[in-house]
Point group: C2
Chain length 267, copies 2
Amino acid sequence: MLQIGEFSKICQVSVKTLHHYDRLGLLTPARVDPLTGYRYYLPEQIDTMNYIQRLKRYGFSLEEIQRILALSDERELRLLLRRQKEKLKLEQREMATILNELQTHISVFERTGDIMTVQKSYVIEVKNSPVMHVLTNRAKMGVDEFGKYYGALFERVPRERVTPTGLNGARYYDEEFNSESSDIELFIGIREREKADTVMEACLCAMTVHHGGYSTLSEAYGAIVSWILENGYRIAGAPFELYLKNQFDSLAPEDWETEVYFPIAKQ
Amino acid sequence: MLQIGEFSKICQVSVKTLHHYDRLGLLTPARVDPLTGYRYYLPEQIDTMNYIQRLKRYGFSLEEIQRILALSDERELRLLLRRQKEKLKLEQREMATILNELQTHISVFERTGDIMTVQKSYVIEVKNSPVMHVLTNRAKMGVDEFGKYYGALFERVPRERVTPTGLNGARYYDEEFNSESSDIELFIGIREREKADTVMEACLCAMTVHHGGYSTLSEAYGAIVSWILENGYRIAGAPFELYLKNQFDSLAPEDWETEVYFPIAKQ
DNA sequence: GCTTGACTCTCCCCTTGGGGCAGATGCTAC
DNA sequence: GTAGCATCTGCCCCAAGGGGAGAGTCAAGC
């Protein structure tokens, strides 16, 4: 039997951590002296501890680790490991995108000497939005469910024998930016006016083109809104985006292009 | 002037976050009504908010961001951005290593059907440690200062005209594994017995070879210690490691090799 | 047998970046 | 005048522990 200090040294974790895991029920000592409360561990528990540390490195939370330890189904475990791998890969790609963004930022900063240039370079245009015949799908959704809802929308294309124009986008009705549940209307442009759910008429808009991944998209929104406020217009409707170039064109995030439109009217 | 709700929508951050930033002094509203406490923001503050979100994506903490916003020195800012880039790159490399580890784990698991195999594959040997003549440097250090202290040690090689054998390692005296401050003795093996600081005599050891990066090294320690406890030996001295293959051989972490030695004696 | 120092216990507060809710006002429109 | 939002402050909560206080425990030395 090992005292907590010895066990902690062998496993290279702090005593605090062992207390914590005991309290969570994640790794309870083999024996706890009922009089003194001293914790005693068995050598076999070193393996369990190493396994826990390993799963922690893989990015599982302690709660998930606890479930994994209690798991008897081998297939389920396999599934969880694979899913975690995909999650790590995704994080890695996101980190690569951010690194790219940071590199761009540094270059622009060193060239111009202004730290804000990189996010102020939006050219705002006032023009009529294009007329579009669209299939639409409006729902309360989280931004992570975008793909799911878009999929459902695209399934209608062959079924209803329509021809996509390639102009796809989304309109944000309640702009709370909850990110977990917003009122979003997805749409895909089609040629056939008579088969469309809606015809989006032209309307006067302030718009700009956003280059890059969606994490910086709010900067485009900010740029347009401040332009509107500073130029004597007011927002006259829900804003929408058109996805000109994105991941479905097999492009890296830094090459994506998105048009952001805000319907406006003179004050 | 914008109310907090409008400002929050434009910047796509929650009202809670704006309250939080106000309390931290990170982004204070341009005007706060002294009677009602209502916060009012200027359109220009949208840029600041976007800048903050950008720095947050780059991985700066809110405290760091506050310092950056207060910064007037352009060179210092450049330095901070570059340093952050290096930090992100390091994280990215670490994530790649972990992904590799996870992939190996999944393969071994699918081949053997046992989730623990991958960390139980240490072959423990009982043998005499090699006799080594070494230059040593014992100090309280954090694991992240390893490189620094090793550098100092290697500078002595040309100065004292000694010939490295390529057997380098470290001995851990106080095995608290504080990771921030441990009593560690670094050593590099040399040919010349008479010029050595210490001669490490052969002693009976339980040892194993660890393959892979150092994040899993504690599993080797755990494996040896449980073997010692289960086989009627006791630990008879401070353990040490020999770095056979590592980053200085331009190898990826998964190809590194480390020998771990624990001096032992019969119970 | 006593003391000393090392080890361990529980309990409470702290960290980061906010989220959620309660109860109280404020603002605006009808 | 009042209904329905918007907003305010204040309090507790999350994960994964860290730090320290104050008290009890254990083994060794005298």
